[in-house]
Symmetry: C2
Subunit: 547 residues, 2 copies
């Protein structure tokens, strides 16, 4: 299920605030975002150059377009610009709520930009309080906004200490929203302030993390704990009060901080997270976005909205590309892979004119190789933590052991006794490949070992299918009837083997999809795959050279 | 370096097209997006309900706000709406280019919405051709747009076959842009069409991937190759022609496809990728976005812009949170961790009143445990692929072996000979912990083994620092002078050990940051950490119980 969020706010051409910041924040939380624009701004990191408000009826039209068609999980409002637009937003939402249940709404009561530009006409403040606050699960004023809201409501508006912040938040709660997050960024506070207030017993939630966390001396060692704190106050109509302290960052890259925080809160509320936890997560997201902000523009730069996401290195599995990992592995080693699966050994075998000596050399060495291969699967069982993978690996061991007895029969047909077979010295190509499997298994995790086992499993499957497909073409170069190696071709193109191939494909694709690798880890897999593909080719070189 | 991209286009309140699709696409490519709005729409998946154009001067103002402040790496234009806005965009860009070098620009010549709504006034088409195309590295018309552009320019506008697409693309190239990507979504084509045209020798680039890829029979096995293809044609002024075929998707979720493709192209061009490769990547991104589209709205739904990104599970390292992995591990096991590092054994030891028998039992068992610990580090060396980690692990082995000789001396002081020490039976708690280290090392990769080694290294460091910190407080419960276990406390709180702790912290944090784990992998680490923390506590329980 995709979570759908709606922002009703202004735009910021420079992309750091407004609906742009909201949509980026939604996306960085893997949520779907819709947006209703109340006013456009020509704006950059140095200030607001121009504003072009949306007509109130057009604001209503946008809201109706979204809500009439799409199920929205949570809404935020940002800059509403003027009384007409405030009234239009409130009226349209209320109309929607006549037939639908209310949607959690976060109201960021944006009034003035960081650069001092008026973003809500002063005469619109009362409308916002009367019309929007009662629809809101949460309002998120900063200190200047709180002072405006309080003074307009005839409430005390002195906010210079943590104690006064607590009082102010309580008073703001009386304005109609179900909760108030009073953001303390404008008031310098310290750990001492926090200690003093805890007497009154609000719950303290550090976000991003408690710098005074218990039992983490090793993480503090040599570091001076932050002296200056930012403390946000959350008051809920349930009576619950939380404080959210965090180290104060010395940064000018705070353009769009309020938008980002309220958008992140909207994501969390949409996900159904409770308000205190939502605030902790949203505050942590925003804090790190400021701390890792890129350097963009000449003024107060935007935040880093991207810190919470990574690029997926293997495409999602889909109907048109069900094996994206395997495909990328083969594509990344195209010529080596081709040199393996269309090796001269294979072609001569398909034509039925492969030297018997080469084939026998191959069979003898493969007999040795299969011991390593069986042991590698046994190691895979050893590295597994659940009965299913243990059982699957051991079944393969049994199959490989059975396969080896076919080698014994093969050799017997051509007059080679089991004792001669057993005593055939192992070729370097065999040792290289076999020992590499065991080494890889010892060195890495079960996925890396599985990767090492794939070039053999998949490659022989490819050879089988290719020869069979070619044989079906008119006047094919592949000889079927009377080919002395027909059984070999039939084995590897046959259903039993091909079903093992499909199981192998499913295993690595499922594992890779469930545990998406980082770039570095994917590169490790690629290297193992490539190495094994080369070793496979080397194995057939060996057979041809009788080396 | 953050890549900065600018879109100049209309809005889509429902979030699937326009600047919303562009910003989502930019974000999903981890690029920074700015946006200039030419017109706002009230729109959803069923159609466009209303349009409110931006005044031309306000469009210019937005462009100036962005370009005067921010270095933009690439630009795209989408819906420009009318002649005045086309002229305003062209004029403002040209003014900027008088003092600055030109920025790669992708022009998506949006004319009509999928739902049939006019998005560019017919009289504005000529202005777009004359003013915008010459500024463009690439234009990306679909078939209806191409027909409009060609007929307005007095060129043949029949496009019903792949051959006519090639001609049309060539003709479109004469309109002034440096390249043309003619999108073939509206023309049903087949593999046979492709085979016929290859005679003329354009380069064929499958995107997302070649369904007829060489040597991938195993991936086709049992699947019928797509019969219906979409083929895009790319003509460049260099004369290079590329075809981009892909399976045609049967999907109604195509709202914003053109916006998304041109935005993805803008990302690639901004990164400096050449046009053919950029088209391949952007086409693959868009194809998968359609194929994995969520179900949103009642009409032609939006694409899945998020398929290319994953949520980062461990926060970025930052100054206020330099050890995010370790912090989350400790927080996730807070009570178990506390039970370990503030164990009664530790408290009694700090007070100097720990039973001598308990301490000696601990020392004897620790002597056995350290053998496992040394072997686990030797295994870590075995699992390493570079000299540095091999050397680091072996240094630890040497240190641990030296530490064991201190145990021998300790015991000698208290009248226990080395032979008695060696012959002390191993307690189950010792075997459990030691064997778990070796098992984890055998089972997983080097990071998982490192994880298993951390609870011991970090926990003893924590105990040392805690006791030292407590000892420094006035009237401390910790006895320093005359404490019979002082040397033990000094060792673990001392510089040598603490520098090993910091190296350990750096190792796991650096590895986790370089190879960000999936949720599943992080959970595996957590489980190993928690298990070892419990085993550590169990070790001290054993010492207290003499078990």
């Amino acid at each position: 299920m995709t979570l759908v969020l709606l922002t009703i706010a202004g735009t910021d051409s420079s992309g750091g605030a407004g609906i742009q910041a909201d949509l980026k924040t939604f996306t960085a939380h893997r949520c779907y975002g819709a947006s209703v624009i109340t006013a456009m701004t020509a704006q950059n990191t140095t200030g607001v150059q121009a504003v072009h408000p949306s007509p109130p009826e057009f604001v209503a039209e946008q809201i109706r377009s979204v809500l009439s068609d799409i199920n929205v999980d949570a809404i935020k409002t940002g800059m509403l610009y003027d009384t007409d637009n405030v009234l239009s937003v409130a009226k349209t939402l209320k109309q929607h709520y006549q037939s639908q249940t209310m949607i959690p709404l976060v109201c960021d009561p944006v009034c003035v930009s960081t650069s001092g530009h008026v973003l809500l006409h002063p005469d619109a403040i009362e409308s916002m309080i009367i019309e929007i606050f009662p629809l809101s699960q949460l309002i998120t004023p900063n200190i200047p906004e709180a002072k405006l809201l309080l003074s307009r409501s005839g409430l005390p508006d002195d906010i210079t200490s943590l104690e006064e912040m607590l009082t102010a938040a309580q008073n703001l709660l009386s304005l109609g929203s179900r909760a108030v997050l009073l953001k303390g960024g404008h008031i310098p506070l310290t750990y001492q302030d926090l200690c003093r207030v805890t007497a009154a017993n609000p719950r303290i939630i550090w976000a991003p993390d408690d710098i005074y966390d218990q039992n983490m001396e090793i993480l503090q060692n040599g570091r001076i704990p932050a002296v200056d704190l930012v403390i946000d106050v959350l008051c809920q109509c349930s009576g619950e009060i939380n404080l959210f302290p965090r180290p104060r960052l010395q940064s000018t890259n705070t353009h769009g901080t309020g938008c980002t925080l309220s958008a992140a809160l909207t994501c969390q509320l949409g996900m159904g997270v409770d308000l205190a936890e939502a605030t902790k997560k949203a505050t942590a997201y925003t804090h790190l976005a400021i701390e890792t902000a890129p350097s963009i523009g000449h003024g107060s730069g935007p935040l880093n909205h991207l810190h919470s996401i990574l690029i997926r290195r293997i495409p999602l599995r889909s109907q048109t590309n069900p094996y994206p990992l395997t495909r990328s592995l083969i594509q990344g080693t195209a010529s080596i892979w081709k040199g393996y699966v269309q090796h001269d050994f294979v072609k001569l075998l398909g034509k039925g004119i492969l030297e018997r000596g080469s084939f026998l050399h191959f069979i003898k060495q493969d007999y040795h190789y299969l011991k390593y291969y069986a042991r590698a699967y046994a190691l895979l069982a050893t590295k597994s933590h659940a009965y299913d993978p243990i059982s699957a690996a051991m079944e393969t061991v049994v199959t490989v052991v059975r396969e080896s007895s076919m080698h014994v029969e093969f050799c017997a047909q051509w007059g080679i006794s089991q004792s001669v077979l057993e005593n055939t010295p192992e070729s370097p190509a065999t040792t290289a490949y076999g020992a590499f499997l065991i080494d890889t298994g010892l060195q890495g995790d079960s996925m890396k070992l599985t990767m090492a086992l794939m070039a053999c499993l998949l490659g022989y499957g490819e050879v089988g299918l290719w020869l069979k497909k070619e044989a079906c073409k008119p006047n094919s170069w592949v000889v079927w009837d009377g080919n002395p190696y027909l059984k070999w071709i039939e084995d590897y193109s046959g259903q039993d083997y091909q079903s093992a191939v499909r199981k192998g494909l499913e295993t690595i694709e499922t594992k890779a999809a469930a545990d998406p690798p980082s770039e570095g880890r994917l590169e490790e897999w690629r290297q193992v795959w490539e190495k094994c593909t080369r070793l496979e080719k080397g194995f057939w070189d060996m057979a041809m050279n009788l080396s």
